[in-house]
Symmetry: C2
Subunit: 611 residues, 2 copies
């Protein structure tokens, strides 16, 4: 391919819309253009990268026997209503784009395909003899993100590989999950990425076990907590840890303390010398569900701990099983109480023993509290907490004394933090790193097959629900993550395995007939050898072309300059190392050999990355 024919437009200036380096580089180097918020055109160079990533994904899926298919992007609401996910995905903070067709039928634009594939499985899979089977597709997906950003990282239209497996029993599902884990590790390695596997929350997809694959990068949206020995790693959303020991409160009978204007943990500690771990703080929240009344919730947590919103949502969904999907959780404020015709509450000195009576007359809410208590709080033998009267706290309170209203089981609702001890090995302390999620695999179990009636006949003739797994890779996100991990001040440094071209030939002076002749001959030579080569034949100054070559990030650059008269060219590897001067006649074979070795992506030492 010739640069002059490539629709190649590079930008000198930093694009204003870009927030992270990979986004800036993809825009500047002419890989993508924004069409609307979170919606991008993949220009020819980008499309070549995406096709290569997809090809690697396909090869590894084929290796483990997965079948490629293509499922519709337009999905009927009815399937999502059967799985119980329609409301959660379309109302409140739901992220599914949805529309009515000309007959007024509701449809959603697929952010994921559990419903569609399970309905197909119900139709196609009848017997244990057809199992196990794994189907996957590579396709654009849609999410109406609240805040689309970072280019392809959090886009509203993006390319995913999503796969779904069906099994006769859980053991078979676990084997497929392990095989998929291996395939995913090979895919990321072959794409030249350093990725780590971490325990993850199963979120809106559901299921029993799930694992994310994170490309570590400072710009990552996710926080990973891991032990130095690497034996434990989890997304902070999901991570568990041992909380620091609480500072014991000296034994004392329970007494009231006047705390006017002291409405925060910091206020209390400063005024009275408490340690935050001696306090039980409460959060008064309102949970909205797809159906039924909003639910007031009282969460109790040790004063030095933070609430983990994902753990809270999971706990709420598990406790409230008569009102469909959880749509939203928000703090209850004074104004909301007024609208419900409820008495004002003493915010700032609320305690875990707040009476249900306070909510008895609510107009639309459930008239009693759901109480959730984190284990850090329930483990305190004696503590400080609000007295449920303005400007009054209790010191030396115990759960027993607070009475049956406050008593509750111990949950894990707190956010694990860097510095916490690892549960499995308390000698290790968690360390934090940022990551970009590029893959996620789930053991779904029978949630969808039961909801959608996807059953099979066992060898014994019984009708049973299928066991399912699902497996996603963000293909377009992965391509940008590669840029985030592999770049320098000059531009992108693509791994050979996913580079848009493997070699770029730069003619230093397009007016010099010898340079043109040598470059054209090498170009034909490389094409004949099956090396993907770009010939920069544009009538630009050499400096401009070198800068563009660095920016675009083709792994090998051949400069045909003054040495051409002596039959010599210079080869520079974008990933480092000294330039080499080669005989033009030998350069083709030399490059073919270098490229061949790195094409599979399995030799990533050459990328100069950490192991």
């Amino acid at each position: 391919m010739r640069s002059s024919r490539l629709l190649l437009v590079t930008l000198r200036d930093e694009p204003a819309e870009a927030e992270i380096v990979s986004h800036r580089l993809l825009l500047r180097a002419g890989f993508i253009r924004r069409v609307s918020a979170g919606v991008y055109a993949y220009l020819p160079l980008m499309w070549r990268v995406l096709r290569k990533v997809s090809a690697i994904v396909r090869q590894e899926m084929e290796t483990i026997g997965a079948l490629e298919a293509l499922l519709p992007q337009l999905q009927p609401a009815e399937l999502w209503q059967r799985s119980g996910r329609w409301a959660g995905y379309t109302a409140g903070e739901g992220i599914m784009f949805h529309l009515q067709d000309r007959q007024g039928r509701e449809m959603g634009l697929g952010p994921t395909h559990e419903e569609v594939v399970t309905a197909l499985a119900a139709d196609l899979l009848r017997s244990y003899r057809q199992l196990p089977v794994c189907v996957y597709q590579i396709q654009s997906k849609f999410r109406d993100e609240i805040r689309p950003r970072f280019g392809l990282m959090r886009a509203r239209e993006f390319i995913m590989k999503d796969g779904y497996s069906f099994h006769a029993d859980e053991a078979c599902l676990r084997r497929a999950y392990a095989e998929m884990d291996g395939a995913y590790r090979r895919i990321f390695q072959r794409c030249g990425l350093r990725a780590v596997a971490v325990e993850a929350d199963s979120g809106a997809i559901g299921g029993s076990a799930s694992q994310e694959f994170m490309v570590t990068a400072e710009a990552g949206e996710d926080l990973i907590l891991a032990t130095p020995d690497g034996r434990y790693a989890a997304n902070q959303e999901r991570a568990v840890s041992l909380a620091p020991e609480a500072v014991p409160l000296p034994p004392q009978p329970c007494r009231e303390l006047s705390t006017p204007g002291q409405e925060t943990i910091d206020d209390l500690c400063e005024a009275h010398g408490f340690h935050p771990s001696q306090i039980v703080k409460v959060l008064l929240l309102l949970a909205r569900f797809a159906e039924g009344a909003p639910q007031p919730v009282l969460v109790s947590l040790r004063g030095d701990q933070q609430l983990n919103a994902v753990k809270l949502a999971n706990a709420l969904q598990a406790r409230v099983n008569d009102r469909g999907a959880l749509l939203q959780v928000m703090p209850i404020e004074a104004e909301a109480l007024g609208k419900e015709d409820l008495e004002p509450l003493p915010f700032g000195s609320l305690g875990p023993h707040l009476e249900d009576d306070q909510f008895a007359g609510a107009r639309s809410w459930t008239p009693r509290l759901l109480r959730l208590t984190d284990a850090t709080a329930s483990a305190l033998p004696s503590f400080v907490c609000g007295a449920n009267r303005p400007g009054v706290h209790l010191v030396g309170a115990t759960w027993q004394e607070l009475g049956p209203t406050a008593a509750t089981e111990a949950l894990d609702l707190r956010e694990a933090q860097a510095g916490d001890r690892c549960v499995a090995d308390p000698s290790q302390r968690l360390e934090a790193a940022r990551g970009i999620e590029v893959g996620h695999i789930f053991q779904l179990g029978r949630k969808y097959s039961e909801a959608l009636g996807a059953t099979f006949t066992t060898e014994q003739g019984e009708e049973q629900a299928l066991w399912m797994g699902c497996y996603g890779i963000g293909v377009s996100r992965l391509a940008q993550a590669a840029v985030e991990q592999l770049h320098d001040a000059q531009g992108i440094r693509w791994p050979v395995s996913i580079a848009p071209f493997e070699v770029i030939i730069v003619i230093a002076n397009i007016q010099d007939a010898t340079q043109v002749t040598v470059a054209e001959a090498l170009y034909e030579n490389l094409r004949g050898l099956g090396v993907e080569t770009l010939l920069d034949d544009r009538p630009e100054r050499a400096g401009v072309k070198f800068k563009d070559a660095d920016l675009v990030g083709i792994p090998f650059r051949v400069v045909v300059g003054r040495g051409a008269a002596a039959g010599e060219v210079e080869v520079v590897c974008r990933h480092g190392g000294d330039p080499e001067t080669l005989a033009a006649a030998a350069a083709g074979d030399w490059l073919r050999e270098r490229v061949r070795r790195e094409r599979s992506g399995l030799l990533d030492d050459s990328l100069g990355g950490d192991p």
Copy 2:
């Protein structure tokens, strides 16, 4: 691939939802499943076919230097508003699915990409040096069809290849159009299809010249009119022809004729012995546009001719250029006149000289008629027509006598018919055939580049709008059209070039260890030779497996049966010819050679089709 692992489910019964044979066969043979009206899942076998069609498209696009990209499916309304197509595509009978995102911004699901690609061109193309350039993509598109049907033929979600070229001048556009025409012919030929190129209407896409590629098939939705010598062929929507000569009306002064209850051409002819070609019939219609008042329209046509709706729409859009896109044309009925507070009209005896006064008091319509007259009517020296009074017609009327109100230019609004003479060569009469449109190429000119400000700087330093072409292939429709053209009573007969597998090995008796051994060896042999092979290892009866093989339509079937003991297998070609008995050891090479020759799709003689 083994059939047992392929998620292969064939149906014995005719699926009720299918209306044409290709749709039935794709459902029965397990290629597709319906997810909602006009929305299909492409199962693994179908996806292999679609990937092969796409690969052929990609090769031929690469041959002519087109660049592959991927543009977003979600398109902002703003771009379509700038081109003036938003209303026409979303209101009235508009076929674009559209939605509001969470910020309330209107977006459409792309049925086509002129707007998006032209906006990109405005950003990326600056200089004549970057021209010409052609960008294409292969992607699912969406159309909210009024009547989705025939499976993938008229689906609401379907796979298209769409390409767009940009040029400095019209001559360059014409050259690219001719190159694309050649590429399209090669694509259809390589896919094993008999396709004809026909003149076409440019419809909602616009532009000056356009040509469709039709796969001839009885189930085709389009009517093709062509001369026996093949030098003229056009879609009936667009076809022109010489109308039959009118039967002259004997010279006579204009007189009134009492015609009570005679409201149709047939009535008049029967009662008074007229020939339909002696009558001028009028159609009173209402045209609604995206903006402004609805327009009453009076169309005059010779009594033996039919109105062509596409020609009418083009004429209306050309005449009314202040009200945006034409949304709908419908007959005006008595009830509608009442709603507009207009006097009743004498339907059944309306004449071309109906006065504008009749519409002067309309509440919301334009208060005067737009008159369109077909050349067959305006050419009549003397004719019969309605007198605009109930139960009265005129005989011997002339345009001059009807007065200035009726006089108008002569347009081509009539539907050409089989049997009409060809305009270019009146010795040839048009013949009719039905076709399935699988491709359409357009010379767009500067319609979109002007609307969206896509300009470039010429060599002389002038700023000019880009010349554009656009080029579509219905990839999923093409795959079904192949089935429509190539099947027999037993099932599909895929051309080798787009078959899901090239060879199927059927083990007649899975209990026979020798058969299994021979089949497995041949399977490994063929895989090693790069032949795409399916091994039917299912524990079914031989008859069931033979039936399935015929239904699925793999080009070569190898039966490993009783002859296996003597080292022999039987090879049957799905496209006909006698079965051949081969030594099992030699079968691999024999098949490789046969498959290799047909893989490119260029040897379509072997398909046994007409030339």
